[in-house]
């Protein structure tokens, strides 16, 4: 299969994902109607679908660790951030799970936990585990972003605390990225010898030049660098928020 053929045909029209997305869209409008920020929600839905039905998903499903990492980043950082942003101003959540420590552990744990070799392997081969993974990533990512993107100002961390929160999370994920990049052994052995369901393996290894070592290195670098860039962007957003915070009730840094 050539690259062109692959990218045109390898769309997985996963009915469950499509139905769930449709249900979520309807649910969102029923729950919030005009009060919400539907553009963010639509963006979240689009990214979610791209992550799960596009050819990237086919690659992540047992072929390429790096594609899996792209999917992972989209599901744990981008989609949840957009979801939290789509909530209306009036939305409020009072629960022990909104403690900053829980949010931090959820966000960092989502990275570390699912890259334990056993779990990583299982998620790449079993559809059930993969579904559990997707759900948990969305939930853990949302808990993480809640601390800095919650709809109400008073439910977010103060900007300076937010910077510490994001910086430490960035460091914790970078360490995992560094380990993945330099690890001489496969973290997710499934990707070393993929079962060639789609007949694309020769294209990947040949035309794309992605050997399994190089593939894992790219995966690690993706977690290390672009992921950190996302956190860095969020840190700058916190600084902007700090400098533009209205007076006088806002300077409780």
């Amino acid at each position: 299969m050539t690259t062109y053929q692959f990218f045109t045909t390898a769309w997985t029209w996963n009915s469950i994902v499509l139905i769930l997305s449709a249900v979520a869209l309807v649910g969102y409008f029923l729950a919030f109607g005009q009060r919400g920020r539907p553009l963010y929600f639509a963006a979240a839905a689009v990214v979610f679908l791209l992550a799960l039905i596009s050819p990237f998903s086919a690659l992540a499903n047992g072929y390429l660790f790096s594609a899996h990492m792209v999917q992972h980043i989209l599901l744990v950082l981008i989609v949840p951030a957009l979801l939290v942003l789509s909530l209306p101003q009036s939305f409020s959540l009072r629960s022990p799970i909104t403690h900053p420590l829980i949010g931090w552990i959820a966000g960092v744990g989502a990275m570390w936990l699912w890259h334990a070799p056993t779990l990583c392997n299982a998620a790449a081969t079993s559809r059930t585990v993969s579904a559990i993974q997707t759900t948990s990533l969305l939930i853990m990512g949302s808990l993480f972003w809640w601390q800095v993107l919650a709809p109400r100002e008073e439910q977010r961390l103060s900007p300076l605390a937010g910077i510490i929160y994001l910086f430490t999370a960035c460091t914790a994920c970078s360490v995992l990225g560094i380990i993945l990049t330099f690890a001489p052994v496969s973290i997710c052995p499934v990707y070393q010898h993929p079962v060639d369901r789609l007949g694309i393996l020769s294209t990947i290894r040949g035309d794309w030049g992605l050997t399994s070592d190089r593939d894992q290195q790219i995966g690690g670098l993706l977690m290390w660098v672009p992921m950190c860039a996302i956190y860095a962007t969020a840190i700058l957003a916190q600084l902007a928020r700090w400098h533009s915070s209205p007076e006088p009730e806002q300077s409780n840094a």
Binding site: S174, R214, I218, W242
Partner: protein, 742 residues
């Protein structure tokens, strides 16, 4: 007799106040931030002369082809000492001297948060410098470049003690730098004057505050690397010895993970100086304060992600190269933002071309040039061609001299009136300026061309290739201009100190708080602070009818300085242990023959670990007892904490002993090298923690806590103790538990 007097007597027995006040000891025993700042600068100036003379000899040797003025080995030693001296003993002490003097004044503080720690940090500098240069007498200076690449720096290839002195010296300097950064962070967080909220900090203070975090990120990584190379050399470890299973590339990763942030560590204070001087001499507030401030944070975050661009020629592989290319290009954005902001500040201003401003303008042009050649190195393909050539030498000298030294040459006449009470001579200053501008550009612009013509770095001489001779001669002639400029500068400082025009409080009509006090400031810095509502309090005082817009509200939150200080220190320790743990994992992934983690006695270690973890609980009980003023209970729990920590240490010694009995020591294989290093450094930290707790036990026994202060210092010591336990959690997981899961 209560405890307080005992401790005071103990202190006075060493040095009584009368002796301390005597002029001969006043400077040696000072803990005043202003005097320490001056001492830092004098140290930096002294080593600037040393490093400058070293540079002069390097250039004299290279002035003509086939020169035999210096022996090749002497040349290697000279450029190693020159690089190390200029970075660690000139740029850092000089910049930290300015920070030490100016930063507390700018935020309306009486002194740094920890004056004695400040003195400790300073004294590390001359001692580090002496250690480094003592190697010349002790059998051979280091001759491997300032980056000390392994395996050249290992015993089989460098058998003289030069590298050992180099590593210990840098380690000592690193400790001083870390203590300086901890102090700066704590001073800014905990010692600001009324109204000086974090959003109103002058940019010089803000940048050095942020920079201190970068120091705490980067320096511990280097310290861990230095510890490893010393272990290799002194205890026959194999971290960086490829033929024993070590990795020479690992040293490069560690060194540049420090080395690239280091560039920003010395350039950010320079940025801070320029951000103060340009607005004052353009008679305008800085353009886009928020952008300048935020881009500093962006630089700090990004700078830890770009070190790989120093290693394109190592062969890290296409993916690594690609990612480091992207991040290296990205970091040009926040730096470019700053250049634009400084230019925009000058745009439309009534610019006064006094000497400080002249240097800042030269800084701006030269730094932009340095940035452009710098970003060309972000492209790996180009980097492969220019890496080890004089193009690179030209580039980084444009950063270090063209930007950093020029910023300091501008900052000296700017703050000299505050430090001495007298102005520096304007005409002599112009002589220095032009001699430096001509000399600097003559020396270093041509080096770019030389590099493109193919002249490699680190060669002691070269054949008579067409063009190389005259270009090198031109480069050498430039050094004499800079030397002449420096002599004029020294004369200017000496002369102005006694004969300069009296400055008054605020000779430049500047706006930050250091100009609100006398020149030089009295011991306590301020009699009274002006009201602070904006970023330019003295502008508001001078122009009550059109003050600056108020920034935020006036409420200043000052967290406890002991806790802040220890948290900053712990932050740096995370980097140290993080590096050691990553190095352990790196070699764990390549198992070797011989002893391995499977041979460790996990159940016994778990028992001793429980003791250590329990000690965190008992310490917490002791803290509770202290809050409730129950002295007996507090002493009991504290004693139990120390006992539990001691039991853990005994357990570790026992484990070591058993390993030694079976013939396993640090030099056996990679596992033993990394195992003993990691657990050994943790054990050392437990030991230090125990000593601290014993001191507290002694103080509490004497009854000191019973009186006024229920000890935030005690809580701070607790943070450290808990941290040591948390580190053990990670060590336990990686060393003992991880192998069980395989």
């Amino acid at each position: 007799m209560n405890g307080t007097t005992t401790i005071a007597e103990f202190r006075d027995a060493i040095l009584d106040p009368a002796k301390r006040a005597h002029y001969r000891l006043a400077w040696l025993s000072t803990v005043d931030h202003k005097r320490i700042g001056v001492l830092y600068m004098l140290t930096g100036l002294f080593f600037f002369i040393v490093g400058g003379v070293e540079a002069l000899f390097i250039r004299l040797q290279l002035a003509v082809p086939n020169n035999h003025l210096l022996h090749p080995d002497t040349f290697n030693k000279l450029f190693t000492l020159h690089g190390t001296t200029m970075i660690f003993l000139v740029a850092m002490p000089l910049l930290f001297g300015f920070v030490n003097y100016v930063l507390p004044l700018q935020i309306g503080a009486r002194d740094m948060a920890f004056p004695r720690l400040n003195a400790f940090g300073f004294w590390c500098q001359p001692f580090g410098g002496i250690l480094l240069h003592f190697s010349i007498l002790a059998g051979g200076a280091p001759a491997v470049g300032w980056f000390s690449y392994a395996p050249l720096s290992e015993t089989p290839y460098s058998s003289t003690p030069g590298i050992d002195y180099w590593a210990i010296a840098i380690f000592v300097l690193g400790l001083g730098t870390i203590s300086f950064a901890v102090n700066t962070i704590t001073t800014v967080i905990s010692c600001r004057g009324p109204g000086m909220t974090m959003r109103r900090l002058p940019l010089f203070t803000w940048m050095n505050f942020i920079n201190s975090f970068l120091i705490l990120i980067a320096l511990p990584v280097l310290n861990a690397g230095l510890a490893m190379i010393l272990i290799d050399r002194q205890l026959e470890g194999h971290f960086f010895l490829p033929f024993r299973g070590g990795s020479a590339v690992l040293w490069q990763h560690i060194f540049w993970a420090f080395g690239h942030p280091e560039v920003y560590i010395v350039v950010l204070p320079a940025f801070g100086m320029v951000s103060e001087i340009i607005p004052v001499f353009s008679r305008k507030p800085i353009f886009g304060y928020e952008f300048v401030a935020a881009s500093t944070v962006a630089i700090v975050v990004l700078s830890s992600l770009v070190w790989g661009h120093h290693m394109f020629t190592v062969g890290m592989g296409r993916p690594m190269d690609l990612f480091f290319i992207i991040t290296s290009m990205l970091i040009a954005i926040p730096t470019g933002v700053k250049v634009l902001n400084w230019s925009a500040t000058m745009f439309g201003g009534r610019i006064r071309f006094d000497v400080p401003m002249l240097f800042c303008i030269a800084f701006l042009i030269q730094f932009t040039f340095a940035g452009l050649t710098g970003i060309s190195h972000a492209s790996a393909a180009l980097d492969w061609q220019t890496k080890n050539s004089y193009f690179l030498v030209g580039h980084f000298h444009f950063v270090f001299v063209g930007a950093i030294v020029f910023a300091m040459l501008g900052a000296l006449p700017y703050w000299f009136p505050k430090m001495s009470g007298r102005m520096m001579s304007e005409s002599l200053g112009r002589w220095t300026f032009w001699l430096w501008v001509i000399g600097f550009n003559m020396t270093f612009i041509i080096q770019h061309v030389l590099g493109l013509y193919g002249m490699p770095r680190r060669i002691f001489t070269y054949p008579d290739i067409p063009g190389w001779g005259w270009m090198n001669m031109l480069s050498t002639i430039g050094v004499f201009f800079m030397s002449a400029g420096s002599l004029v500068l020294l004369w200017n400082v000496a002369h102005s100190l006694f004969r300069g025009r009296v400055a008054g409080d605020n000779p430049w009509n500047a706006w930050t708080l250091e100009w609100a006090t006398t020149s030089p400031p009295q011991h306590e810095n301020f009699v009274a602070l002006p009201p602070i509502h904006s970023r330019r309090p003295l502008w508001d005082v001078a122009n009550p009818d059109r003050p600056d817009p108020v920034v935020g509200d006036d409420q200043v939150v000052l967290p406890d300085h002991n806790k802040t200080g220890i948290l900053a220190f712990i932050f740096s320790e995370v980097g140290f242990f993080g590096t050691l743990i990553l190095a352990y994992l790196y070699f764990y992934a390549h198992p070797q023959a011989g002893p391995g983690p499977k041979g460790l006695d996990v159940p016994r270690t778990l028992i001793f670990s429980v003791c250590l973890f329990a000690s965190s609980f008992t310490f917490w009980r002791s803290e509770v007892a202290l809050t409730k003023q129950r002295r007996g209970s507090m002493l009991g729990w504290l004693g139990l904490t120390i006992a539990l920590g001691g039991v853990f240490l005994v357990g570790q010694v026992n484990e070591y002993w058993k390993l030694f009995q079976t013939g396993v020591d640090l030099s056996t294989n990679m596992f033993s090298t990394t195992f003993f290093t990691l657990t050994g450094f943790h054990g050392l930290h437990v030991l230090i923690g125990l000593i601290v707790l014993l001191i507290f036990l002694w103080v509490a026994w004497e009854g000191d806590f019973a009186s006024s202060r229920p000890g935030s210092a005690f809580k701070a010591a607790g943070y450290y103790w808990h941290f040591v336990d948390v580190v053990w959690v990670f060590v336990l997981l990686t060393v003992y538990i991880l192998p069980l899961m395989r």
